[in-house]
């Protein structure tokens, strides 16, 4: 399964990022071949609609599940339309989050904050 995690750094020891849309990097992790790839999140440079653009990037990478601390309703709408699942991450390293996901310990994220109208 192809997972994605927003993160502050570019190794698996890096911490998960508090923001989704403006996270500096995304980590793509394949649970089958256990490979990880990091990309810089270009949506972070956006004037507005960062969550939407970030979600578009993930959809274009055919991501199946997002592990995140929080997510806006606009981004959630994009991901849901692409049948991607969104899980509530743990405020810890990527490695710990991936382990928790694989153990089935992460719950679906159900609360999505309102869009900040392109200003956050």
């Amino acid at each position: 399964m192809k997972l994605v995690l927003p993160t502050d750094g570019n190794t698996l020891d890096s911490r998960i990022c508090a923001s989704f849309g403006r996270s500096p990097y995304f980590c793509f992790y394949d649970t089958v071949d256990r490979q990880s790839t990091f990309i810089r999140n270009t949506a972070a440079d956006s004037e507005g609609g960062a969550g939407i653009k970030a979600a578009q990037i993930l959809v274009d990478h055919q991501v199946e599940a997002l592990l995140t601390l929080r997510c806006g309703e606009n981004a959630a709408q994009v991901l849901t339309a692409a049948n991607s699942k969104i899980y509530k991450a743990l405020d810890t390293s990527l490695t710990d989050n991936i382990a928790a996901f694989e153990q089935g310990a992460l719950l679906p994220l159900t609360h999505f904050h309102a869009g900040f109208h392109g200003h956050a």
Binding site: E47, G48, A114, F116, H117, G118, H119, A120
Partner: protein
């Protein structure tokens, strides 16, 4: 870091007066002025060092290269913001109206229009050994104040790097983009209300705005004794709608004098100072109870 944001809806109710008092009382290590259009908090903050200033680049703005322009008028016709004018044989983009959408760039048949970086303001950071004060000044006439507000908060959070348990944020009047941006990641909004018909009308709109963004809210009244009837009306409204009420501050000439000397109202001995201490206590208790993070 818990974030307490001070808003009002109506201008002139006393946000900065209350914010500066709260900063003093809490010995806040992190605070910010998100009224980037008309920032005032620095005027009542003592001990400021030199600021580190960073240019804030807002939306890119369109620029016409008159050397390439063939005067076909397509750019002006397609601009939804009437930002392009034809000035006697040359086309000019008014940067105050341009929203950086790129339509003119797309419709120009000869590539004479391009989007260029545009400075929209200045971010300022005042750091001492243990406090961080983040503020900014928007260029006048500018838009995208919301994005600058986000930068002000980001700067504050990044620079305090977990050393500050509580951040006090002085907000802006209104309900528009800078207010919406300031609400992001806030744990509690304190609305400083004015007891008047206008003040109550505006308070309702800011309450509605905060509710839309699901941010816990509390209300206090400033200059309450200028109009007891409306003060009671505000308190009753809070009771009816389940909005927390954290106290009343009287109109106080000694407080006005303190502010005019660049001091907070808790730096002097005055009734308003005593009252704001009470509001502060109630608000902080609420913040502890209500914050979800």
């Amino acid at each position: 870091m818990k974030q307490l944001l001070i808003l009002s809806g109506k201008g002139g109710t006393g946000k900065t007066t209350v914010a500066s008092a709260f900063i003093k009382l809490s010995h806040a290590k992190a605070f910010a002025d998100c009224d980037v259009d008309a920032p005032n908090l620095h005027l009542v903050t003592s001990g400021l060092s030199t600021a580190t200033c960073t240019d804030y680049m807002g939306m890119q703005k369109a620029v016409v290269d008159t050397g390439l322009c063939i005067g076909c008028d397509r750019c002006r016709k397609h601009c939804r913001f009437t930002a392009i004018q034809n000035h006697v044989e040359h086309y000019e983009v008014n940067p105050y109206d341009c929203e950086g959408c790129g339509v003119c760039v797309a419709v120009c048949p000869v590539g004479a229009v391009s989007l260029q970086p545009a400075k929209a303001g200045v971010l300022k950071l005042f750091c001492t050994a243990d406090t961080v004060f983040s503020t900014a000044q928007l260029e006048m006439g500018s838009g995208t104040s919301g994005k600058l507000v986000t930068e002000v908060k980001k700067q504050m959070v990044n620079q305090s790097a977990g050393k500050a348990p509580l951040a006090i944020i002085d907000g802006s009047p209104g309900i528009g983009c800078p207010v919406i941006a300031s609400l992001n990641q806030v744990d509690l909004v304190l609305i400083v209300a004015e007891p008047s018909v206008s003040g109550i009308s505006d308070m309702r709109r800011i309450l509605e705005a905060a509710d839309r963004f699901q941010v816990p809210t509390a209300v206090c009244i400033n200059k309450y004794d200028t109009d007891m009837r409306h003060s009671d009306e505000i308190e009753n409204l809070c009771l009816e709608t389940g909005v927390a009420f954290t106290g009343r501050i009287p109109f106080d000439p000694a407080a006005v004098r303190a502010i005019n000397c660049g001091k907070s109202i808790v730096d002097v001995d005055c009734p308003a100072g005593d009252a704001v201490r009470n509001v502060y206590g109630n608000t902080l208790r609420l913040l502890e109870e209500r914050s979800g993070r």
